[in-house]
Symmetry: C2
Subunit: 258 residues, 2 copies
DNA sequence: CCCAATTTGTTCGTATGTATA
DNA sequence: TTATACATACGAACAAATTGG
């Protein structure tokens, strides 16, 4: 990507936010607008800085924040890239289920494992009340509903029920979903230009109903974890509402507070 | 705190980590050593920079990282302080239980509420296997065991079973625990010089046993959330092992992935 | 294998703005 | 008002990683 192919504006009104934040927002607009697709390199820092009419230090500060928010990725000697959702980094930013460690080998860090994903159902339905409030659409509006089953070490551990607004994912089909080469968030990004930046989760303990006990191979009435996740993109816009049901008999939901 | 009262060293061997990281570690050593107690201000940036023999930009970069890790707090026009564990910020860094929002009022952000804490038991016991592996001590070594019950809106929601090495908390008594003016992590910090920086959690769904159903007022056999938390201080040293049992009938365990 | 070009990473120093006491 | 301290912005020089010749 060359600097003279980019359309941008840096609104520099006095008394507003610091300059590096204006630059950051300008960069965000460039990225959101799709002028610089995920995976592509930005022009080099010196060129962007002069094009924006700011010093290189100011530009670097703006880029620093975007790197920290996983919007950009820097590689010394190569360039700065729009972040792609296919690396381990992004896979495990949103997948937190791990086998429970054997207490006898406490110091052994359990190796994070890629889940095997199996699509159980793909439907076009009408948004439920819960879908609608989460996705900020009207109840009854069309949604795609995807049911996936995730396995670790050959054992079914997680069931995901995913709802996305059909409006936002025009042309999504079961085939395209099944043929995706990487994660589902990578599909959102490459095929629909939607980048999931962060997610809110609400977790609770529930009892496995008949369907879940069948899908996860647990006894009926066993306690399971239920995680309600709302995934957001730029501007806090909701992208996906997902209810994950986790069999925590042999696995844990892990997180780090820092 | 004046600059000439500080003992410090900046090991600057060529080929090592970048200078700002060496400065960061030097600052960490100063803080860990207790020369600068939590709540106190550091000397101003210019003085620290000249004392360390680095530029102000380099020092600021080191401080930036420590601020990001909640070790330091900056206040424009006032100074830079060693972070204290008494603010909302730190309270809610480690407390994530919120009332379940009414779906009819989805846009209303539930106001975060301070839990009412009630000490149910305080004992000096011997470390179990689980305590020992988590806290990296020998099984049978003395530990303090604290059982707390937390209520939100007058309803008991969480039970915490806390284990800490007696070795590390010499002189802890039930009275000192009960008389604490703020959170328990604030007590660790002010009375024992131990700052909890981050924590790892493993969450699973369980069935309430007789004790828990009594303490939390849930029916026997109801599903509850069980959160195993290991709290860490400087150098990844374990401080506290805690098992939280959460009644998620009317509350959620919330988190943000970003 | 080494060299040169390119790009980000680190460090320096200075000047000015803004919040606080 | 004044002094102090952090915040922002600028620009230069060199280091380190990467790539391609």
């Amino acid at each position: 990507m060359k600097i003279d192919e980019l359309q941008f504006t840096v609104l520099t009104q006095p008394g507003a936010a610091p300059l590096y934040r204006l630059v950051k927002r300008a960069l965000l607009r460039v990225i959101e607008s799709g002028q610089c697709r995920p995976g592509l390199a930005l022009p080099n820092e010196a060129d962007i800085a002069t094009a924006f009419g700011v010093s290189i230090g100011t530009l670097r500060r703006a880029v620093d924040e975007l790197v920290h928010e996983h919007v950009l990725v820097r590689r010394q000697g190569r360039g700065t890239y729009v972040a792609l959702h296919n690396s381990d980094r992004f896979m495990f930013q949103f997948f937190h289920v791990e086998p429970r460690p054997d207490p006898r080998y406490a110091d052994v860090v359990p190796k994070r494992e890629y889940p095997m994903v199996e699509c159980v159902a793909f439907e076009r339905e009408r948004a439920s009340e819960a879908d609608a409030t989460a996705l900020r659409i009207q109840p009854g509006e069309p949604v795609f509903r995807i049911d996936n089953r995730l396995s670790l070490g050959g054992r079914a551990v997680v069931h995901d029920r995913i709802s996305v607004a059909a409006q936002m994912f025009k042309g999504l089909t079961e085939k395209r979903l099944l043929d995706r080469p990487s994660t589902i968030y990578n599909l959102y990004q490459t095929d629909f230009g939607i980048t999931v930046l962060r997610a809110q989760e609400r977790t609770r303990a529930c009892v496995a109903d008949a369907t879940m006990s069948r899908l996860l191979g647990v006894a009926n009435g066993m306690p399971v974890l239920e995680v309600h996740r709302l995934a957001l993109t730029f501007g806090e816009k909701p992208v996906e509402f997902r209810v994950s049901t986790v069999n925590t008999l042999h696995h844990d939901y892990v997180s780090v507070l820092s």
